[in-house]
Structure formats: structure tokens, C-alpha cells
């Protein structure tokens, strides 16, 4: 017989479409509209998982997102496997394939359950106590052990093939939770023509109304009323209804994150549909209608499969038409469990007994129990339960101390309801303890946010609806409500005596018992935050939705302190587990980061370049020819450039247009150099420091006119340099008439370097005389290149005769092609960033960020000549005078020559005076740049070394793992020391 626990006539599911699914390989049937949990329960399956620490057999306890036990893996294919899915919220679809977790070899027989026998050795704080010594055991023993035990469920091994999307949205009112309160609030807001977003994590609006058989609103059942409200709201243009959508995080200034699950309930999702949509909603007002969550009773043996929350059992019956058993017991401290028992009884299910922890219960309810002929035992506790994979009995201790045994196959429990303060607390609201009702309630709202309904502790439907209307500033309408279920009662903490035998679980998923909490308190954890971390109470994937209040009450009781003094742990996003995919959205692959390419990029691709990333840019690294290694290609590019010419795409360099009558004065502030005497048409190498006196950026600056500078920056430094300049201009020197504009991407920059550089470009240039006499090194001219307005620099980062052609970027490729058509027949080559690095190092030109690290002054870098000492002020002038920056013994940039010329040092390698000294050695400094120089036939290196400028000619050592390399300290210029080639 299939679905033996499906109750005919019960529930609101149509029971028309049968759905096939598997759990641990076994096939089952359910109905459309079922959750995985309700369908398994219909088939009599309670055992759905194993606990994390003791591997105890566990059944589903809750019917909502708070479920701690029934975590399963859902597999669609190799790449689509989702671990730790709560069976209580996973909607059933045809072919759903679920597997249990944390068990070996099977769910029924699990070797890991031996941990349970060992439990005396795994007390709270076990990890902290056990894995302390000996230190050697950590690598060999402890870490592998912990790693094996860690983690719940298995992650898929392939990358996620699904699409995720993101949406920023704005609205007047965002309502989180589509139960009675949320629906009423949405309607009230909608009628005031406000833009409304109403979200609910379930497939349909209605919340608890869908499970409540007693309530009548305006002559309709709760479920009918909710469906009609939702249908009416859906017709309005100013309302967006989002089902299957969880408000998972409440951030600053009324920004709320929602995740909408779009395809997880579908058997065959449309490939065009995203799996999930992240909504980042900014609302003028937020209405939180999160409802409340029922607590489990804490008693010995409270974790056997078949023991469920009373409200969950009621929901499974009234919504899904499923009974959790056929001989059911009830253990409660709250009136609501009676309603669940009566509903089941009316559906023909045997209720064996209601054990009520309370001594006194309202007579109306007791009368109803008598009508149902259900035995009620007041002032009693459940002392123990029995049954290995499913509960089969319980021992009850009556008020008089008498022991009673009951044969049961399911046990409903209710310790009362905890208002859900998760989002309220995330909004930085401070929950307030209500002594009378023994619960935390929302206090004042620091943001424009209001809580309504169950999460404020309001129980009566009439008040809930009135509250929702009032939240929107409306006068409450009159609803015709029939609702006679009492919600009185409740307990926090354990029932019975904690010295009793058997484990009374507080946190099911992490296997934290009442005794563990007591132990933590005994061992000195007096703040709830410490108790939580020591015991891991509330730290599982359910974030303590069932356990936090119990843990707090047990600790407070032992500490003999009022609950608010022990404190409430902080609620943090996400409210329920949220996929990484939803956070990533569509920003993956090519949309993860912009990949910037120059206008000449495609030429480099066509010509076989390898690329390297430089900040967000892709730059041509070298251009290997057939059969060439990188080393050979770079050697050839350097040699060709020095002997003939090379062309290089320098478009990524940052460029800033500095203009205005005070431009030179501003440059005097921003750069260490003096700009007063620079003539229009000339260029200069500039150094920019921060106020601390350390090098921040560098670059060549061309003066186009008395009021206009063409400033270049490093590739990666462009945005921060512009920000740095704007900062000083706007906030320190606002009186200056200077304006800044980024032109980095306005210009494509083509460097042509080498003895034949002039011969290559001369025919392309019009409107300028670029002869050696009239256009010397460090010049700039505005002219035309290939008929296009251009800025032509005569500068060199190679030490050769060199030009840099700046042309409007859309012409970059065309003009590069023209240059190449001139260069190629002469035997010139294109070179990449690696050859550029080698050639600049041969000349001792620094690269900011490689030869400097944010603690190097211009003096340290050997650039004292670039500091205009006579200037009254520039950024970094005072900083450079600091005692530590002028002392002796600072690291200074020098060159290194290896005794073995074939030995290329490693960048970053440390340098010492005496390699025989005992470890730890005194490090004098380190290698910043190191290359093989094909031109010189030897290795070259730059290094920062203590008192480097005083050590020229000294022999030092670079100790490596397998050898000690002898080096000689030299100047930083290795090639053409007199700089004659520049002037060709």
C-alpha cells in the first residue's frame, strides 16, 4: 500500500497528481504540492538524517525553515547536487532524487553512531580540551581527524551550471512574510497607492492560515481568505508578489536582501530560467511579518524519529493530509498542542495521551479533551523514550511521582512559540524581554521598520490584522473573525531533572544537550556568547531557531540571573542557508571583473602574443615566434629594439589632463619636482609622494602650454592618482583654478624605440619637425600622425632613441598598423611588457610597486635629483623630514651583479652580509627586480639594501634553499651609463 499515512479528506492538497520520487534509492509516491518531508511522512518514513556529532538517527521535527534534522542532498545531475536541503521545505517534483547525509554505510545502520557510545569522551569544549598537545600531533593526527569529521553533506565537484540573476529594486513598502499580517499590511499599503513588494518563503501566501483548521475570516477558511487576498493583490500594478522568496538579511538604511527560488521545485526547469534571483530591495518602509517558531520540549530522549513539533503535525495534517503516526502521544506546556491533537483525533488518529508539564490548564481546553475522550496528565514530565530508529514508547512521571508507560509511534511536543526576531534584530533593533510572557519581543525600531503579527507576540487574529493596518497608518477595518484557539502557555529550558539519565537535546543538529550547557556554565562560560561558542549551541545550519531560547534559559537558571542579563546571541544574516550562486548572481566568468583591453589588443592576439594581467588590463607580455621559448622571445625583442627598433603598446598608461591658470602651481604641490622652469613643448619625469614622504606614483609629464599638462601615471595607479589630485584640489587648494580630466582611454599610446625609431615614424608625422636638433629627448609636440591629431612625445623607457605617439583611441589600431608597416621592413619587432621590464632595468629605471613598496622615499630610490628642495611646499615634503626617513641605515636602491653572470636571482630573495652567521640571519634587504639581460650577456638585478649607496663594490650573499649566491653591489645603471643612446 502506498502512502499509508495519507488521510482521506484531510488537507488542502487536491491529491490529484501523483508524483514519483526517490529517497536513498527507494521509490516513493507523493502528491503535487507536497514537501519532501510531508511525502515521506505519508509513506511512514520518519528517519531522514543523522545528527552531526553523535550520528544519532533523526526524523523531521518541523514543517518549515527551522528544521534542524531532516537535511538531505538533492541531486539532479553530477553538477547539480545541493547538500543540506531541509526536507521540510523542499517541494516535491517528479523524479526528485534525495539522499540522506552523515551516515555510512546506510541511514539505518551507521558506523559513525559509535560516537554516541563514546559521548562521555566528547563533552562540550571537547576540541579545545583535546587537541592542545603535543604540538607535533596536530599535523599528523588532529587536523586529519578534524577534517574528516568536519562538514555536513557533500559539495558537487563540478562548477555550477545554473544561471543566477540579480535585481536592485526600490519600493515604498516591503513586507516580509505573507501570512495574515503580511497580507493585510500589503492590502492596506496598496490601497494607499504605495508601491509594494510582498515576499513569502513558501510556494503560496498564507503562512499559518494554511495549517489552521479552526480559523474563519469573513466567512472563509484561513486558506481561502489568504488565496483571495493574494489574488486580489496580484491584480494591482503597484504590488509585486514574490513567493518562494526568503528575506534573508536586513542591512543598513532599509536595504533588505531577498532570494527568490525559481526552479528548485520544478521537475524539468526551462533552461532559459535562472535558478535563483537575488533581490536587493531598498524600501522606504519595511514591515516585518515573520511570525513565530514553535519550540521543542527539552527532555531525555527527545530526539527520536517520530517526535515532532505539534504545530508541524497540525500543518502536515491540515495542509498536506498526512498523519505523523497512528498512536500518538503529546507532551506540551502550551495550549496550541491541544488543537493539533484534536485535529488529528477528529481525522481518526488515535491520541494516546496528552502529557502537560503545567499543573493548571484552562478548563475549557480540558473540557474539549474530555469531549474527544483524550486522557490528559497534568503536572507530569516525559522521563524517557524508547525505540531505536523510531519512537515506540515513553515513560511519564506524574505529579505524584508515579511512572506510566505508553506505547506510541509518534510524539507531538510544544514548549510554546518564539517570536521571530531575526530580521528585526538584523535591522539593529534591540529585542526587549517581556517577563510576563517569558519571551523577547521587538523593541524600538532604529530604521523605518515595523513588526506586525506573530513576531511581535500578538496572538489573536483580530489584533494581528489590526496591527498590520495600523502599521501603514490606517484605521483598522473590521474583519469578521472566528478563532477560538488559545495560545497560552509555554516553557523555556529543560523539563524535569537534568540529572536524569539520557540525553535531553537542546540543539538537535549539533547534538548539544542540556547537560552540555550546564557543563559550559560550570566551566566558567557566563555570557551566552561564550556558552554558544563553547557548546556550539545554535551554531548549526538552522542557527538555533529551536534551541537558542532553551540554551539561554538553562544557562540563566544555573547562573541564577535574569534572562536579559545573560543576554541574547546576535542574529546575523542569512536567516536561512543561502546559496553562493545567489550572491554571485551573474557576475561570474567574463562578468566577474572587467577585463580591459587596448585598441591594439587584437593585433597582439593576431600576432601570437602571450598576455599578462596588469591591474584590470590584459597586456601583451611577449610575442613568441614559432619554436621560441619565452626567454628566447624576450632576448630577441630586447636585442632587436636596441639594434634596430621595437614598437610597444603603452596605451594602458594612466593619463590626466591638468589645465588651468594655476596648473603649474598645482603640479608643484602634487609632485616633488619643480615645474616652474619647464617650457611648453618639454617633458619631465615626475615623482608623486603621499604626505608621509613615500613614493606613490611616477610618470612623464608633458607641458603642452602654460596652462595645460599631459600627465602620465603608472598603469595600475591611474584611478588613485586622479583621486589623490582631486582630494588636494577640492579640499586643500580649492582656490586654485585647475581642472583635472582623465584621458587614459582617450589616447592610444604607441611607443617606438630604438636607433631606427625616427626613420620609422617620420613619414607618418605632419605638422612637426622631429629632427634631433629641434625635437630633443624629453620633448612633446601636438601634430598629426596619419592625418589624425596626435600628441607626440620624445621619451624613452628603454634607454634608446624613443618616441611615444598618442592618438585618439579609435584610431589606435589603424595607426599601429601604419607604424608596423614602416617598422617591419626595417627588421624592427613588436615587444611586450617583459622586454620593456628588462630594458628599463638595464637602465635602472624603477617601477613603482616593484622597486618600491610604499616605504621607499625618493632618496631611498636614488631619485634625490627629482626633489625640488627650494619649493616651500609639496605633498610629502614634511613627511620626508621625519627622523626615521633621514636616519642612516635606510634601505637604498642599488644594482647587484652576480659573481656567476649566468645566475639570475629570485625577486624577493633576501640579502645578507655573512652567509655563515647563525639563523636567524640579519637581512640587509631584498631583490626587487631581476632579469637575464641578453644585451649584456649576464644577469642584472635591483635591490633595496641597508646603506646601499655606501656599499658599492661590496660583496654580499643571497642565501637560497640549495645554494648561496655571491653578489657585488653596483650602481643601478647597467647599460649605456652615460645615456648617449637616448640622444640619437
Amino acid at each position: 500500500m502506498t502512502q499509508p499515512f495519507r488521510i482521506k479528506g484531510a488537507g488542502t492538497l487536491p491529491h490529484t497528481r501523483t508524483i514519483q520520487f526517490t529517497f536513498d534509492g527507494q521509490s516513493y509516491e507523493g502528491y503535487e504540492g507536497d514537501t519532501l518531508a510531508s511525502a515521506l511522512l505519508a509513506n511512514g518514513v520518519h528517519l531522514m538524517g543523522r545528527s552531526f556529532k553523535y550520528h544519532r538517527p533523526r526524523g523531521v521535527v518541523a514543517a518549515g525553515p527551522e528544521e534542524p534534522n531532516a537535511l538531505v542532498g538533492i541531486t539532479r545531475d553530477r553538477a547539480r547536487h545541493t547538500p543540506n536541503v531541509r526536507a521540510s521545505v523542499q517541494e516535491l517534483y517528479d523524479g526528485l532524487n534525495a539522499t540522506s547525509q552523515n551516515r555510512f554505510p546506510t541511514l539505518n545502520f551507521d558506523i559513525g553512531a559509535l560516537n554516541s557510545l563514546m559521548s562521555p569522551f566528547f563533552p562540550a569544549g571537547f576540541y579545545y580540551k583535546t587537541f592542545k598537545w603535543p604540538a607535533k600531533a596536530w599535523d599528523a593526527l588532529y587536523e586529519p581527524f578534524i577534517r574528516r569529521a568536519a562538514g555536513l553533506g557533500e559539495a558537487p565537484t563540478e562548477s555550477d551550471p545554473d544561471r543566477y540573476v540579480n535585481r536592485f529594486a526600490h519600493c515604498d513598502v516591503l513586507i516580509i512574510g505573507g501570512g495574515a499580517a503580511g497580507l493585510a499590511a500589503a492590502q492596506a499599503a496598496a490601497e494607499k497607492s504605495q508601491s509594494v513588494i510582498l515576499c513569502d518563503e513558501n510556494p503560496a501566501m498564507g503562512g499559518w492560515l494554511l495549517a489552521d483548521s479552526d480559523i474563519q475570516i469573513d466567512g472563509q477558511t484561513g486558506a481561502q481568505w489568504a488565496a483571495n487576498m493574494a489574488a486580489e493583490l496580484a491584480t494591482r500594478d503597484n504590488v509585486r508578489l514574490l513567493t518562494r522568496t526568503t528575506g534573508f538579511g536586513y542591512f543598513q538604511h532599509n536595504m533588505v536582501g531577498l532570494v527568490e527560488r525559481i526552479t528548485d521545485h520544478q521537475a524539468r526547469p526551462e533552461p532559459s530560467q535562472p535558478r535563483e534571483r537575488m533581490w536587493q530591495v531598498r524600501a522606504k518602509q519595511v514591515v516585518i511579518a515573520q511570525g513565530s517558531i514553535e519550540r521543542a520540549m527539552v527532555f531525555p530522549g527527545n530526539d527520536r524519529p517520530g517526535i515532532v513539533l505539534a504545530g508541524a503535525a497540525q500543518k502536515w495534517l491540515n495542509q498536506y493530509g498526512v498523519s505523523v503516526g497512528s498512536r500518538i502521544g503529546v507532551y506540551t506546556a502550551c495550549d496550541t498542542a491541544y488543537a493539533a491533537a484534536f485535529d488529528l483525533h477528529e481525522a481518526g488518529i488515535g491520541i494516546e495521551v496528552i502529557v502537560d508539564y503545567r499543573k493548571v490548564v484552562d478548563e475549557t481546553i480540558l473540557a474539549q479533551a474530555r469531549e474527544h475522550k483524550i486522557e490528559v496528565v497534568l503536572g507530569a514530565t516525559v522521563a524517557q523514550t524508547t525505540g531505536r530508529l523510531r519512537i515506540n514508547g515513553m515513560q511519564v512521571k506524574t505529579a505524584t511521582g508515579e511512572q506510566k508507560e505508553f506505547d506510541i509511534d509518534a510524539l507531538l511536543m510544544s514548549a510554546g512559540w518564539t517570536p521571530s526576531l531575526h530580521l528585526y534584530s538584523q535591522s539593529r533593533g534591540k529585542p526587549v524581554w517581556d517577563e510576563a510572557s517569558q519571551r523577547f519581543l521587538p523593541g524600538e525600531s532604529p530604521q523605518d521598520c515595523i513588526c506586525v503579527g506573530g513576531c511581535t507576540g500578538t496572538d489573536s487574529m483580530e489584533q494581528v490584522l489590526a496591527e498590520a493596518e495600523r502599521a501603514l497608518g490606517n484605521k483598522p477595518r473590521k474583519f469578521d473573525i472566528e478563532d477560538d484557539v488559545s495560545t497560552d502557555g509555554g516553557i523555556i529550558g529543560a523539563t524535569g531533572n537534568s540529572t536524569e539519565k539520557g540525553k535531553a537535546f537542546v540543539d538537535f543538529q549539533n547534538d548539544v544537550t542540556a547537560k552540555d550547557i550546564a557543563l559550559a556554565v560550570r566551566e566558567g562560560m557566563h555570557s551566552i556568547e561564550h556558552v554558544k561558542r563553547y557548546t556550539t549551541n545554535g551554531m548549526a545550519t538552522d542557527q538555533g531557531k529551536l534551541s537558542n531560547m532553551h540554551g539561554l534559559a538553562i544557562a540563566a537558571n544555573l547562573l541564577k540571573k535574569p534572562i536579559p542579563e545573560v543576554g541574547l546571541t546576535t542574529f546575523r544574516p542569512p536567516y536561512t542557508p543561502t546559496t553562493f550562486g545567489s550572491f554571485v548572481g551573474h557576475t561570474r566568468g567574463p562578468l566577474f571583473d572587467p577585463e580591459r583591453k587596448t585598441p591594439i589588443h587584437d593585433w597582439a592576439v593576431e600576432n601570437g602574443a602571450d598576455f599578462e594581467p596588469v591591474s584590470l588590463w590584459q597586456r601583451a607580455w611577449y610575442f613568441p615566434r614559432a619554436g621560441e621559448t619565452m626567454h628566447e622571445a624576450v632576448d630577441r625583442e630586447c636585442r632587436t629594439t636596441r639594434e634596430i627598433a621595437g614598437i610597444f603598446d603603452a596605451s594602458t598608461l594612466g593619463k590626466i589632463e591638468v589645465t588651468g591658470p594655476d596648473a603649474a602651481a598645482f603640479m608643484n604641490i602634487m609632485y616633488t619636482n619643480s615645474w616652474d622652469k619647464l617650457k611648453a613643448g618639454r617633458a619631465k619625469y615626475g615623482i608623486m609622494c603621499r604626505e608621509d614622504g613615500f613614493i606613490y606614483d611616477d610618470g612623464v609629464v608633458g607641458k603642452l602650454s602654460d596652462t595645460r599638462f599631459h600627465v602620465t601615471t603608472t598603469t595600475g595607479g591611474a584611478p588613485r592618482v586622479l583621486n589623490h589630485m582631486e582630494d588636494y584640489l577640492q579640499t586643500e587648494f580649492p582656490e586654485m583654478k585647475v581642472w583635472l580630466t582623465s584621458t587614459s582611454e582617450q589616447w592610444a599610446t604607441i611607443a617606438v624605440q630604438g636607433p631606427k625609431a625616427r626613420e620609422i615614424i617620420e613619414p607618418l608625422v605632419t605638422g612637426a619637425d622631429i629632427s634631433a636638433e629641434n625635437f630633443p629627448h624629453m620633448s612633446v609636440v601636438e601634430c598629426k600622425v596619419c592625418g589624425v591629431p596626435a600628441r607626440l612625445f620624445r621619451i624613452s623607457f628603454t634607454g634608446e632613441l624613443g618616441f611615444e605617439i598618442n592618438v585618439p583611441a579609435d584610431y589606435g589600431r589603424s595607426i599601429w598598423d601604419a607604424v608596423w608597416r614602416r617598422a617591419q621592413p626595417l627588421g624592427a619587432c613588436a615587444y611586450g611588457t617583459e622586454a620593456m621590464h628588462v630594458m628599463r632595468a638595464e637602465k635602472g629605471y624603477i617601477i613603482v610597486g616593484q622597486d618600491t613598496d610604499g616605504t621607499v622615499t625618493p632618496h631611498d630610490a636614488g631619485l634625490s635629483w627629482a626633489i625640488a628642495k627650494s619649493k616651500p611646499d609639496f605633498v610629502g615634503k614634511r613627511g620626508m623630514m621625519r627622523p626615521d626617513l633621514v636616519r642612516e641605515g635606510r634601505r637604498q636602491l642599488v644594482g647587484l651583479k652576480t659573481s656567476d653572470p649566468g645566475k639570475v636571482l629570485e625577486e624577493g630573495a633576501q640579502i645578507v652580509e655573512d652567509p655563515e652567521q647563525p639563523v636567524p640571519m640579519k637581512m640587509l634587504g631584498f631583490v626587487t627586480s631581476s632579469y637575464w639581460s641578453g644585451t649584456l650577456g649576464k644577469s642584472i638585478a635591483l635591490a633595496l639594501i641597508e646603506d646601499g649607496s655606501l656599499r658599492l663594490g661590496e660583496t654580499l650573499y643571497v642565501p637560497m634553499a640549495d645554494e648561496i649566491i655571491e653578489v657585488e653591489v653596483t650602481g643601478t645603471v647597467f647599460y649605456d651609463e652615460k645615456g648617449e643612446r637616448l640622444h640619437g
Binding site: Q252, H253, E726, T731
Partner: protein
């Protein structure tokens, strides 16, 4: 994510458009060469880190590009006031009033 009122755009805009630029109202003297080491240390290195009202600079870097000042409560993240660069620092009395 913060919602920040830009005093130049005269509108609330998402934090993603802004960059925090450190503490506000730190005066950089024009004659810095004469500063004592102690004064330089106080000016350049020492910063308040209040639990409460922080006087800070922001730049609407991906908007109008302007630097401006703000009073933000570091516990609630509430902006008590934003004002243009160059405007006077609010008095302690005014700050106390704004907190209320």
C-alpha cells in the same frame, strides 16, 4: 549597504557610488616644513575611532566626484548630517542636538 545623501547632488544615492575618505576636519597647514614632529604625528597619524558620532569625509566618486563631510553614528550607521567640503565643523552642541 548605506544610503548616502550627497550635498552636491541633493539626493540619496547607494553606497556603491561613494568612497570613504577618512576623518574630516584635519587641517593640513600651508607651512608644513615648520611643523614639529609631534604636530606632524598628530596631523598625519592620529585618528579618532569613536563609538558614536564620527566626523568623516566621503567622496561621491562614481557620482558628482565631490568630496564632502558627514556626521555618521558608528553604532546605528545613521547619517546625522552631510555638508559640503569647506563648511565649518558642527559645534559639539549641534552634534549633541543631532544625536537626540
Amino acid at each position: 549597504m548605506l544610503l548616502i545623501h550627497c550635498p552636491y547632488c541633493e539626493a540619496d544615492h547607494p553606497e556603491l557610488e561613494f568612497a570613504n575618505a577618512g576623518e574630516a576636519h584635519i587641517v593640513r597647514p600651508r607651512e608644513m616644513s615648520n611643523m614639529s614632529d609631534e604636530d606632524f604625528e598628530a596631523m598625519f597619524f592620529i585618528r579618532d575611532n569613536p563609538k558614536g558620532v564620527s566626523l568623516e569625509r566621503w567622496r561621491h566618486v562614481h557620482g558628482c566626484g565631490r568630496f564632502f563631510n558627514a556626521l555618521r553614528h558608528t553604532v546605528s550607521d545613521t547619517f546625522l548630517k552631510v555638508y559640503k567640503a569647506g563648511e565649518a565643523r558642527p559645534s559639539n552642541d549641534e552634534i549633541a542636538k543631532l544625536i537626540k
